[in-house]
């Protein structure tokens, strides 16, 4: 077994030092009835080549953004990741290290996380960010819990434009955390008013921009309405690249900003692992969930970094902690940080511009097809089409033609019949004119 260094002679010698006759002597505390005498019913060990063949065969069964014209978004996006990102995150000192509890031998991870926190705060227009959450949806649920703590209120208002998976996640946490949810139903025909749903028990309003249909929203008036009622505004961004072009939620008055950070540095990878970004105002920092890295000095007064304010966390505060989160998304945060530092100011804003233009080209091209209408007046890199047929059928028919055409909104919210003929289409810097030609041709064929 290539991963196990002991020889049988080692094992015997070590058992001798321990004073045990056999390995079974070390399992004496296990009830005899529960100790297995033989291996379980699974295949036996295999060499690299055999494992590689078996897993490659599974991977080859998938159509993907690597081998098909690709327009799928709604919370995960196909972007180009520079080669040096993957090379650097595979350095063993990053890949195979633990959470940096021992700062003297973890300065690499700690400094990187400090840079990550700074960049997330910059992008979102906020004061402070944590060292990452699992993903956008769980981060959003944590934001609502935090707003409940800050305001000591127990009712969250969720915008209809919030990604249905995010809404469902918040609802799950609410059901068990004993707080109330007021959810709007998604209205495909316009941006809905939220201020009227705020009452004196409301801890926060959760609003996504661009929303699940790709529409942008000015949050300024809503932030004022929240603050007038003593509630917080939680802004959700599922496509972090949009922040290269769009006014950040922090500048529009948001109190907590949660983003899905997958787009930078991390592959779509069939849903995870991703990296949740979580940013807020200085005054709420002690109510934040998750890890925080802060500047420190050593006994020779050299600048370094440590995990800090950990009295908020589960390993110190146990049942009184701000969250139960422990392991988060360290390596995904590293990939995010490397990608964003390669881009820099000019590259990141430039990338955002390319995405917006790719989406405009796609929208114009698809709107020209008979019976197809683009519903968005505003969008960043994805938009919603109204089709003359149920979108799910259309998406399946496109897939039969080898085209990954978009997301039928009915898949995300099957209980809302108003969405059945809507399809969300995303385009990024990776979308080529050839791909767009294939999609347009296939869509025309499917609809005729």
């Amino acid at each position: 077994m290539r991963y196990l260094p002991h020889t049988d002679a080692d094992r015997q010698a070590m058992l001798g030092v321990i004073g045990a006759k056999s390995i079974d002597d070390l399992y004496v505390d296990v009830p005899r009835s529960a100790l297995l005498d033989a291996p379980v019913d699974l295949p036996h060990h295999q060499g690299e080549l055999a494992v590689e063949r078996a897993l490659s065969a599974m991977a080859d069964k998938n159509l993907s953004g690597a081998n098909a014209p690709f327009f799928v978004g709604c919370g995960a996006y196909r972007h180009h990741v520079p080669a040096s990102v993957d090379a650097l995150i595979q350095r063993g000192e990053f890949l195979t290290s633990y959470t940096p509890y021992q700062p003297e031998v973890s300065q690499g991870t700690l400094q990187m996380l400090f840079e990550f926190q700074t960049m997330v705060a910059m992008l979102t227009g906020m004061d402070v960010a944590n060292a990452s959450m699992y993903d956008g949806a769980s981060g959003t649920a944590e934001a609502v819990l935090m707003a409940n703590r800050v305001t000591r209120r127990h009712r969250a208002v969720l915008s209809g434009g919030l990604h249905p998976h995010y809404r469902e996640t918040v609802e799950t946490y609410a059901r068990y955390g004993d707080f109330e949810i007021a959810s709007q139903t998604l209205d495909p025909d316009g941006v809905q008013d939220l201020a009227e749903l705020i009452d004196e028990n409301t801890s926060c309003v959760v609003v996504q921009t661009p929303d699940v249909m790709g529409r942008l929203r000015d949050l300024t008036a809503l932030a004022e309405a929240c603050h007038a009622a003593g509630a917080l505004l939680v802004a959700v961004v599922t496509e972090v690249v949009s922040l290269g072009l769009v006014t950040p939620p922090g500048e529009m008055g948001a109190d907590i900003v949660v983003c899905e950070g997958q787009s930078l540095g991390n592959p779509m990878g069939f849903g995870g692992p991703y990296v949740g970004l979580f940013a807020t105002r200085d005054k709420y920092v002690r109510q934040m969930p998750g890890r925080l890295v802060g500047e420190a000095h050593d006994s020779e007064d050299r600048r370094g970094w440590v995990l800090t304010l950990s009295t908020r966390e589960q390993h110190i505060r146990r049942e009184k902690a701000t969250s139960n989160i422990c392991t988060n998304s360290g390596l995904c945060a590293l990939a995010f940080t490397i990608h964003l530092s390669l881009l820099g100011e000019a590259g990141f804003t430039g990338l955002a511009g390319l995405n917006h233009e790719a989406a405009q080209r796609a929208a114009e091209r698809l709107a020209a097809i008979d019976g197809v209408a683009v519903l968005n007046e505003t969008y960043f890199n994805e938009f919603t089409l109204r089709l003359p047929r149920p979108a799910e059928e259309v998406v399946d028919a496109l897939a039969e033609r080898g085209v990954l055409g978009g997301v039928p909104l009915s898949r995300l919210a099957p209980d809302n019949p108003a969405l059945s003929d809507l399809m969300v289409v995303a385009a990024t810097e990776m979308t080529t004119d050839e791909e767009l030609d294939v999609l347009a041709g296939a869509l025309q064929e499917v609809l005729s």
Partner: protein, 499 residues
């Protein structure tokens, strides 16, 4: 420490923050020109600069390479953190997860286009349920604590379905902090159960604490003292007789994988940390993956989404028409990247190799205990499982603490053990060598630990208080850092404003 003019110390390079290396006009990417279209942003264009630094690719590569060199890692040495299972991370697994068919698949593609992904999830689920002897597994949780949350929510959903509104979760004193934190997140009242003099849960205290209000007990087994809960079958009976569920924290599954199935111990729900037992890399703090196995009465209430075999293929159930599932926990359906790595790991070892994993892990820990037990006090006699626990009794009157020993280990080239946890002994030192350490490596570690104790007993307390002496950094002042937290870098002019 000798000062140098550059700030570098041999191969350990001083490295400023990215923001301190910024120069306008530098970039690490070359992008095509924009067409210059009129934006469709509804007037919401970003006005000001973001503040991101500009660096070229060689600078970025050097920056992160230098940072990496300031980290301890499994690749560079034995990493004895107890309850963390820092084992070798095979590189085959990294290669597999990067296959484009996995890496470039989108979670919302039509299901007929991602049958390979669904097959992988289904295959991994089969390995997990077979190894644990449990009928079902919820794959979606993102990490161990998220798995605990899924498990407790499933339990609460099952109780609610039978009209049983229990409000208390029992947690042993020795539990990981995530256990009580998770129970609180599910709105349960947490009650602590003491340990007995053998470092196990006190079954009499458990019986005394049982009532019709108890929803579940959360028990780590092997426990955080490194011991197998030998009365576990009785514990399960006590819980089940009172209508409560038995939650197992599977953080320490590495000790028993292939040798003991939690399903044979009466457990109803247990998360597995794929980033511990199944070797997906820790990555400096994640990502993890925390699938939770479930007993028959709990399976109907499992979280969404889940994969089922359907005729010749596989189907992912994203919406539950029965109304039983307690709901969704995250954006998509699981840590697929960790699934690929974990399955590659399991297939490489096979049923025979996984059994050897547990046995060698337990062998190594008992070997460490045997070699150190005359020098370091063992609060609870062995045999231990995959980790061994010492307290600070042997350091009495030396002026040296557990923390000092930990910092001394850094000078000796080892990452410290888990310290001051579990809370049931004074000055805990919890050591988990894992099965991927050779006998030579474990011996060198033991020699070092013995040397440190000799040094402490020889009256070298001052050296310990100053340790580490040779690490890239000396002891960092965490108290001062928390008093006035600096959590982001700010340009000089803004620092002035804030002051």
């Amino acid at each position: 420490m000798t000062a140098t003019s550059s700030g570098h110390r041999g191969l350990v390079m001083e490295e400023p923050l990215l923001f301190e290396q910024d120069a306008d006009g530098r970039t690490g990417v070359d992008l095509p020109e924009a067409e210059g279209r009129k934006p469709k942003l509804g007037g919401l264009e970003r006005k000001g600069r973001i503040g991101l630094p500009g660096l070229s690719e060689p600078q970025i590569v050097r920056h992160f390479t230098r940072l990496s060199q300031k980290n301890y890692a499994i690749d560079s040495g034995l990493y004895p953190l107890g309850s963390c299972t820092m084992k070798h991370n095979p590189r085959l697994n990294e290669k597999m997860v990067r296959l484009p068919g996995f890496a470039m698949a989108h979670p919302l593609q039509p299901q007929q286009t991602v049958q390979g992904c669904l097959e992988l999830i289904s295959t991994l689920a089969h390995w997990i349920t077979t190894l644990t002897g449990m009928p079902g597994v919820a794959m979606s949780p993102a990490a161990g604590a998220h798995g605990e949350l899924a498990g407790l929510m499933t339990i609460r959903a099952a109780l609610t379905a039978r009209g049983d509104a229990r409000k208390t979760v029992l947690v042993p004193e020795s539990a990981h902090g995530t256990n009580p934190a998770t129970a609180a997140l599910c709105d349960y009242k947490v009650e602590s159960i003491p340990a007995n003099e053998r470092g196990r849960i006190d079954v009499d205290a458990l019986k005394a604490a049982m009532s019709e209000d108890v929803a579940a007990l959360m028990l780590t087994n092997p426990n955080t003292c490194g011991l197998f809960e030998n009365e576990i079958l009785e514990v399960a009976d006590v819980l089940h007789d009172a209508g409560a569920f038995f939650y197992g924290d599977g953080a320490n599954f590495n000790a028993i994988v292939g040798r003991v199935r939690p399903g044979d111990l009466g457990i109803d729900a247990m998360h597995l940390n794929l980033h511990k037992t199944f070797s997906t890399p820790h990555g400096g703090g994640g990502p993890g993956s925390g699938p939770v196995v479930l007993s028959e009465p709990l399976v109907p209430y499992a979280p969404l989404p889940y994969v089922v075999a359907d005729g010749d293929g596989f189907r992912m159930v994203e919406h539950d028409d029965s109304g039983n599932s307690f709901g969704r926990l995250r954006s998509f359906h699981g840590q697929m990247g960790m699934f690929v790595r974990a399955l590659a790991y399991m297939m490489s070892h096979g049923a025979d190799g996984l059994r050897m994993v547990a046995e060698d892990a337990v062998l190594n820990a008992n070997y460490v205990m045997a070699r150190l037990k005359d020098a370091y006090n063992v609060p609870f006699p062995g045999p231990c499982m995959h980790e061994c626990l010492f307290d600070d009794h042997s350091l009495k009157d030396t002026g040296v603490t557990t923390l000092d020993i930990a910092k001394g280990m850094i000078d000796e080239g080892f990452h410290p053990m888990t310290m001051y946890f579990p809370l049931v002994v004074h000055g805990a030192m919890l050591i988990e060598p894992t099965e991927t350490e050779s006998r030579e490596s474990v011996d060198q570690f033991c020699d070092t630990m013995l040397h440190l104790m000799e040094r402490a007993k020889a009256g070298d307390a001052d050296w310990f208080h100053e340790a580490p002496h040779l690490a890239p950094w000396r002891r960092l002042d965490e108290t001062a850092a928390a008093r006035r937290p600096v959590l982001t870098w700010k340009p000089e002019e803004e620092k002035g404003e804030a002051a």
